[in-house]
């Protein structure tokens, strides 16, 4: 494999890995937010003002 092919491979892997990191990171953030909100709703139902 020549240097150009190795670099091409590394850039392709980087693009795929970063895409997945962004998408899964967003999904994880959304999941955490959902869970926090469910807890807030449960707390609010238990202790109405």
């Amino acid at each position: 494999m020549d240097t150009k092919a190795i670099l091409d491979h590394q850039f392709t892997v980087a693009a795929y890995a970063l895409t997945w990191a962004i998408q899964l990171g967003y999904l994880a953030w959304l999941g955490l937010r959902w869970r926090a909100q469910k807890r807030n709703a449960a707390r609010s139902a238990r202790n109405p003002r």
Partner: protein
């Protein structure tokens, strides 16, 4: 039943993602001039298409919010949740486009030499208008996150409507002006289009996969926003009653 449907949708999406990845990496042949790095195309272009679709959903949500806000408050809130969900998931996909594009461009817009000192970014019309689109929608999300008061939703809806005007400009930019970005894959003239059927199939599978993934995120984000709205309304009601 609802959980089963959600699980089934998630399973279909994961299967599509895996199949799309397999098609892009193992089935589609190497492109003749760009070789392996051209495979970024199978993530870059579908992400851009899905981002455009979600900005269109967001625009529709904002228009409906402004139309319903006086006479149908519940419908207006649901429309606003769609607008927010569309904008947020659209920004995620647009971020992917703005990251994968320069990675691809750096190898293709290449000055020569073994190590490749290519260009990460150029103020090409397509790149510039896409960056402007991303900045507009990030400012929309920041407005929603940090501004307070009864008019925030209406102001955000107006910003969304003006921001969405950039979508057709991004789409047409490499038709109207010449730049470093490649010509459109579809509808770009008699020579446009993917000729190799294996490449075309890989492209279509990845569009389906990213669309399914995006719709799942959109539904989840909508649900979270509706939950937040209900909780906020409930707390406001309790505060009035106290």
């Amino acid at each position: 039943m609802k959980k089963f449907a959600l699980g089934l949708c998630a399973a279909v999406t994961v299967a599509l993602m895996a199949w799309g990845f397999y098609q892009a990496i193992y089935v589609a042949p190497d492109e003749q001039t760009m070789h392996e790095v051209q495979r970024i195309f199978y993530y870059h272009v579908p992400s851009a298409m899905v981002a455009f679709l979600f900005f269109a959903i967001s625009l529709t949500g904002s228009i409906c919010f402004l139309a319903f806000r006086r006479n149908h408050p519940e419908r207006a809130q649901a429309s606003d949740a769609w607008a927010l969900a569309g904008a947020e998931v659209g920004v995620v996909f647009c971020t992917v486009v703005l990251i994968t594009g320069p990675l691809w461009g750096h190898r293709v817009w290449w000055g020569g030499g073994d190590w490749g000192h290519g260009t990460w970014w150029t103020w090409d019309p397509r790149l510039t208008t896409t960056l402007v689109l991303w900045l507009i929608y990030v400012s929309y999300l920041l407005l929603r996150r940090f501004a307070a008061g009864p008019q925030v939703q209406a102001l955000a809806a107006v910003l969304n409507i003006f921001g969405a005007l950039d979508v057709p400009i991004v789409y047409m930019s490499n038709r109207w002006w010449r730049g470093a970005h490649p010509a459109p894959v579809f509808g770009g003239g008699p020579d446009s289009g993917i000729k190799d059927p294996a490449m075309l199939h890989a492209f279509y599978w990845n569009i389906a996969a990213w669309l399914a993934w995006g719709l799942l995120l959109l539904a989840l984000r909508y649900h979270v926003e509706r939950q937040r709205q209900r909780l906020a309304a409930q707390q406001a009601q309790e505060a009035i009653e106290a």
